[in-house]
Structure formats: C-alpha cells, structure tokens
C-alpha cells in the first residue's frame, strides 16, 4: 500500500490544498530544528525556566529569532494540521482504504496540540502555570484512573511539572509523532519549494509583526492577570469557564469530539466523494466548524467591565452557553443544506450554458521580462539583506525577523519564476506540451481500466440537479459531454477532465480517489 509512494517536485503551480499535510510536516521540521537549538539554552528547572527563556530572548544573539520562529511555527503547524484535516474531510478522501491514514492523522493532530501545549507551558510564566494547573486538574478529574495518571504523568509539584513537560515536549511526544508519521505517510508527497518557502516566510513575518511575549514570571504570591490559553485551546477553555463539572466540560466533551472524528470515515456510507454529494457528512463538518469557531471566540472573550469582580467577568453562564451551542446545530445544519442546494443549482445552470474555457488566466511573461523581473528581485533581495543586517545591528530584532520573512517570500517568488521560465524554455511556442509528464504517471488505474465493480454509476460527477435530470436527463448529459469534448480538443492540458468525460459510464467508485488525486496536480 505504501510502496507506491511518489515524491514529486511540481514543475508548475499546484494548489497547496492537496499537500497541506506535507506543509505541516515541513513546519514540524522547522520546529525540530529551532527547538533543538533552543534546547542549548533553555533550563527546565523550577526557578530558572522563565529566566533562561528571557536570557534566550534578550541576550543570546538570534535567540529572539529562534524563539519567535519556534513559537509561530507551532501555531502554523496546528493551523495547517486543522486545515489539512478539514480539506481531507470535505473532499472525502478519508474513506475507502484511507481510514488508517485518517485515524493516525487524528491521533497526530491531538499529539500536535499536546506538543504545542507542553511547549508554551515550559516557559513557566503565569499563564503557563494556570495552564498546567488546569491540565493537571482535568487529568485528576478522570474517574478511577485519574489520580494515578496525574501522579504518573505530572509528578508532584511545580518542579516535576516543568521537568516532565519538558521531557514530553522535546522527546516523548515528538518521537510518538514521528512513529505515527511513518504510518501516516500518504502515497503522494509533493515538495513544492515556493510554497514551503512562502510558509516559512509567513511564519517569520508574523513573528516580526507579533513577537511572542515573555509573560510574567510565575510567583504563587502574586495574583495572575487575566490570561487566555493559545487559540487552539480557547474552545476548551470556554467550556471550562462555565464552571460546570471539570470532567464533563474538560475531558468528556473534547473526548467525544475526537472520538467522533476518529469514527467518521466508518460512519460515512456515501458512495460519492465530493462534499456536494454527501450532504449529511458535509453538514456535520460545517456544524463542527461553527462550534469550534464560536467556542474559540467565546473562550477569548472576557467582559471588559473592570468594575465587576474577576469571577463574574470570567464565568460563562452555562445555560446561555449550552443553549447557543445547541441552537447552533440546526442553524449550521440548515445553512449547509441550503448552500449545497444553491451550489448544485448554480452548477446545473452553469452546465446548461456552454462552458467558457475557465482555465489559465495566467500572465504570459515574455522571456525578456522574466530576466528583468529576476534581476529586479535579486536587487530587492540584496537590499533586504542589507536592511536585515542593519536591523540586527540596531537591535531591532523583530524588524530584522520581519525582513527575513520577506526575503523568504521573495525567494518563493523567484523560485516560481525560475520554474515558470524553465517550463517555457522547455516547451517552445505551442503551449500544448506544457502538460507535465506526471499526467501519465498517476494513471496507474485509469478509470477506464477499472472494471465496473458495482452497477455503473450514472455519472462520475453527478453535478446535474434533480430538476435538470427530471426534465432532460440524457440530453443534458449529452450536452455536457459534447461541450467538454469540444473544449478538450484545443487544450490537452485539461486531459483529466477529458478522460472523465470520454468515459462517463465506466468509471467505478473505487477509481474515483485516484482521479481526484490526479486532479490535485492538474489544478
């Protein structure tokens, strides 16, 4: 199953949605490198943890940069993992032989959040202490085994907490993640240099604009200010702030959410893959997104009225909160249904008209201009390098980080330009040959080769609405086929579409994931 692994360096732009997993892995590598370097200076000891981080931040040359890249990469990794998960969810790729990938992916996601969580706790600032305290009390609240688990994982006292979170953060969790990644490896690996560089640049740029704060050193005698956890945990925090039973709010609800995610590919019995053809599953996905967004925002929101007592400002009325959450379910469900209906209608309407050649609104740069732009970018790089150097000399650390982020982004642009120019050089004037050689490769099991296992499905992409089918089912299909046929003649680049349209009836359901994976490269 994993023997057919492919490693591709795309020779043209491909949508990053298809390789978000790879981008997550890249940020993991960035985190590994910066984390390893931070380990040289960080001291996981009760009274020195915060001071050592401050030392890294203020004294060690480029310590500020390392710490900020590490911090923002951790946020990026959680975000990319989430996007990756939802993309796989809505595109329906998680089922039919991909269940193991999905389940390991969910576990990886949970470990990613734990990894990020342990990371921001070992600074041992006020906020970290609050987070540790909540984590420990949640573990303790688990029935029967909770206290033993708390003793085993956390030890006793702050000294143990810091040291153990450190051990988890730098070794136990990453090694578990690496182990899972071996299983999680997909069949296609896309290493898109410009996109990787753009992500790295974006991380640095964000670090420059929003440098991570030190927070206040934890002192048990000083009342902590109001702090909220990192954004990926504020949803959970909102539940905790209802002051309802700790186990239910802090362990059972998120546990239920994760469990649902784990079993969703086994629940999803739709034969189709597109989100439009799986209305209930799509609605569940949108509902979960709505819940995540609302709880995340609510977790951040704190009553700004400082005349009220702290508790009054922090506690969320459980009745109000749960009522909103419950009301949100039918709302988001209904909304999704409506949207799917509208989308299908719109698509049917689009089908009725002869489709305009949507493809490639790309800018056609003449060769001369490629060189000019290249030289301009190089000059810009030189300027940025000088600026970054002077920013460091002047002690403007965040500004230099910002500029280095831009340098990375410019490099991404340069690489893309280079790629573009090379493709142009290879393919002389008639642009038909631009089709990358990959197109033939993934066609290991072209739809036509697969025997119709089940009854031949009516249509690969049943985009026509019920209404259209009712009135003129066959004629609409014919028109569609003919319109695509005419389109495929001038531009062979759209070979994937063409293939599907030429064999609309033979494509079995099993062959569809392949087809959609091919799509990834041809977008």
């Amino acid at each position: 199953m994993w023997m057919g692994m492919k490693f591709t360096l795309p020779t043209r732009f491909v949508s990053p949605l298809g390789f978000l997993g790879m981008l997550t892995f890249i940020t993991f590598i960035i985190l590994g490198i910066t984390g390893a370097l931070l380990m040289l200076w960080y001291e996981p000891i009760l009274d020195r943890a915060w001071d050592s981080v401050e030392h890294i931040n203020d004294v060690i040359p480029y310590g500020f940069h390392m710490r900020n890249v590490h911090y923002h990469a951790s946020n990026a990794m959680v975000m990319l993992a989430l996007l990756h998960m939802y993309y796989q969810y809505f595109s329906g790729r998680y089922k039919i032989r991909n269940e193991i990938l999905w389940v390991t992916g969910i576990i990886l996601g949970v470990l990613t959040i734990l990894e990020a969580f342990t990371g921001y706790d070992i600074i041992f600032s006020e906020r970290a202490e609050l987070a540790i305290s909540i984590a420990a009390s949640l573990t303790n609240s688990i029935p029967i085994l909770g206290p033993q688990m708390r003793d085993a994982f956390f030890g006793a006292g702050f000294h143990d907490f810091v040291l153990r979170f450190y051990a988890f953060h730098v070794f136990l969790l990453p090694i578990a993640m690496l182990g899972l990644m071996v299983v999680h490896f997909p069949r296609f690996l896309v290493f898109d240099v410009p996109m990787v560089m753009a992500i790295t640049g974006a991380i640095m740029l964000t670090g420059g604009v929003f440098p991570v704060e030190m927070g206040l050193k934890f002192d048990p005698n000083v009342p902590p200010g109001i702090t909220v956890p990192e954004w990926y945990l504020t949803g959970l925090y909102a539940f905790l702030r209802t002051q309802y039973d700790k186990f239910v709010t802090g362990v059972a609800w998120p546990g239920l959410f994760i469990f649902t995610l784990l079993i969703i590919p086994f629940i999803d019995r739709y034969k189709k893959f597109s989100w439009k053809d799986r209305p209930i599953i799509t609605a569940i996905g949108i509902t979960s997104l709505a819940q995540i967004i609302v709880t995340t925002y609510w977790g951040f929101y704190i009553d700004p009225d400082t005349t009220k007592s702290l508790l009054e400002r922090l506690v969320i009325d459980p009745i109000f909160f749960y009522l909103v959450m419950v009301l949100l379910v039918p709302l988001s469900f209904g909304f999704t249904y409506m949207m799917i209906k509208l989308a299908k209608n719109a698509e049917a309407n689009a089908k009725l008209q002869p489709r305009k050649p949507v493809g490639k609104t790309s800018i056609n740069l003449p060769e001369k201009w490629i060189y000019i732009v290249f030289i301009a970018l190089l000059a810009f790089q030189v300027y940025l390098n000088i600026a970054a150097y002077y920013a460091v000399l002047a002690g403007m650390k965040n500004y230099s980080l910002f500029i280095i982020g831009i340098i990375m982004l410019v490099f991404a642009g340069m690489f893309h330009l280079f790629r573009y120019g090379r493709a142009m050089a290879k393919s002389a004037p008639p642009r038909i040959i631009t089709a990358p050689p990959k197109i033939t490769q993934p066609a290991i099991s072209p739809p036509s080769a697969a025997p119709p296992l089940t009854a031949p499905s009516k249509d690969e992409k049943p985009l026509a609405t019920p209404a259209a089918e009712k009135s003129s089912g066959t004629s609409a299909a014919q028109r569609q086929a003919s319109s695509q046929g005419t389109k495929s003649a001038p531009a062979i680049t759209k070979s994937n579409d063409a293939r599907i349209s030429t064999s609309p009836s033979t494509g079995s359901n099993l062959s569809e994931p392949r087809a959609s994976e091919n799509n990834k490269y041809q977008k």
Partner: protein, 205 residues
C-alpha cells in the same frame, strides 16, 4: 491426542495446538508481570515520609504550644528538602494555624492547631490565614476563594464551587509531645487520607 479422544461430557476438549497457544500466552503474561510494578518509577515518591517530623517555623525553631500565639499562622515547609529551590516550591508550603479562641485555639493540645496546604484548590495561588476580627479565615489573593480554618473547606469563591474532593484543603495530622513541641505525623497522600496537594481531600463526616 486430544483430537483422537471422543467428545467428553463437558462438550469440547482443548486441542493440542490451542493448549500450546495458551501456554505461550501465559508465559508472555508471566514474563511481563513484574514490569507492571515498574510503573512506580513515574510518580514522585517525595511524600513518603515514614517518621514524624518537626513543625519547623520560618525562624528555624520548632513550633511549641506554649509559645505559638492564638489566632496566628506561619508558613511551614513540608517535607523539607536540602535543596533551597525545592523548598520554595508552592506544593511544599503549608499554613500552620493556631485557631482563634472561639474555635478552640486556647487549648494546649493538637486540636488547637491546623496545618493546611497553602496551595489554593482553584488555580494554585498561595492563600493565607487572615487573623483580623471579622475575617479569621483563609483567603486566596488570586480569585478570592475563602477557607474555613476549622475544617479547611472552601466556603466562598471559585474553590467553593468545585465538587468534592476539590473543595477541601489537604491537611496534615499533628501531635504534641510532653515538652509541648508539635510534630507532623507521617502523611497518607490520598483524597481519603490527608488529601492531595492542589487537588483536595474528602471531608470526613
């Protein structure tokens, strides 16, 4: 052998292969059984004090019923370590209280004293005892949890909203010798015994 035998009254007999599998499984289980106890590597054994220890006041002296004032409190480190860093650890800091007179603090025995973990059960700030008239209670500076000095139970603030055992402070058992010196009895760190620091204890009826 087993296969040749006719079915006995019990129904079916175990085949030789099944028996072999059973032996292998039993062997595996027995081989790895001792490692279950190795799980004790994980928890911190710092609390297992087998002897009674002094109530050592911040000035280095041992607390004595004759000299310790009524309606007064001190922070005491327990269990005391040789490492000053570890002694600063909030989880080792205890509030040693002599109750006010109306709660029986005038008596010269152990019932006049209380020793509670100073770690607030809400979010682990350090609360302390306030002896002023009208207060005479433990108060947490962070979110305003208040503790009854007699039982260690939270009666106000967020800690009071927590379900048992997380609303009663862990407490240590004390004893007084003939000279009036106060000692801490060996603790039992469980919610049914002396409680768990930071998490609480079940109040005995």
């Amino acid at each position: 052998m087993a296969a040749q035998q006719r079915p006995s009254r019990a129904g079916r007999r175990i085949s030789r292969r099944d028996f072999l599998k059973l032996m292998a499984a039993a062997g595996t289980v027995i081989t790895f059984t001792p490692f279950i106890d190795w799980g004790k590597f994980l928890p911190n054994p710092q609390g297992s004090v087998s002897e009674r220890s002094k109530v050592e006041l911040p000035n280095g002296s041992q607390a004595n019923v004759k000299t310790f004032q009524v309606n007064h409190s001190e922070a005491v480190v327990y269990p005391k370590s040789d490492d000053p860093t570890l002694n600063e650890e909030a989880f080792r800091i205890w509030q040693f209280i002599r109750l006010p007179e109306e709660l029986g603090g005038a008596k010269n025995d152990a019932t006049a004293f209380r020793m509670y973990s100073q770690v607030c059960l809400h979010l682990w700030c350090l609360w302390k005892y306030w002896p002023e008239p009208g207060r005479k209670r433990g108060e947490c500076p962070c979110h305003g949890s208040m503790y009854d000095p007699l039982t260690g139970k939270a009666f106000a603030g967020p800690a009071a909203l927590q379900s048992p055992p997380s609303n009663v402070l862990p407490s240590l058992d004390l004893e007084v010798d003939n000279n009036g010196n106060i000692w801490i009895k060996p603790p039992n760190w469980s919610v049914d015994g002396n409680g768990i620091v930071g998490f609480g204890r079940f109040l005995k009826a």
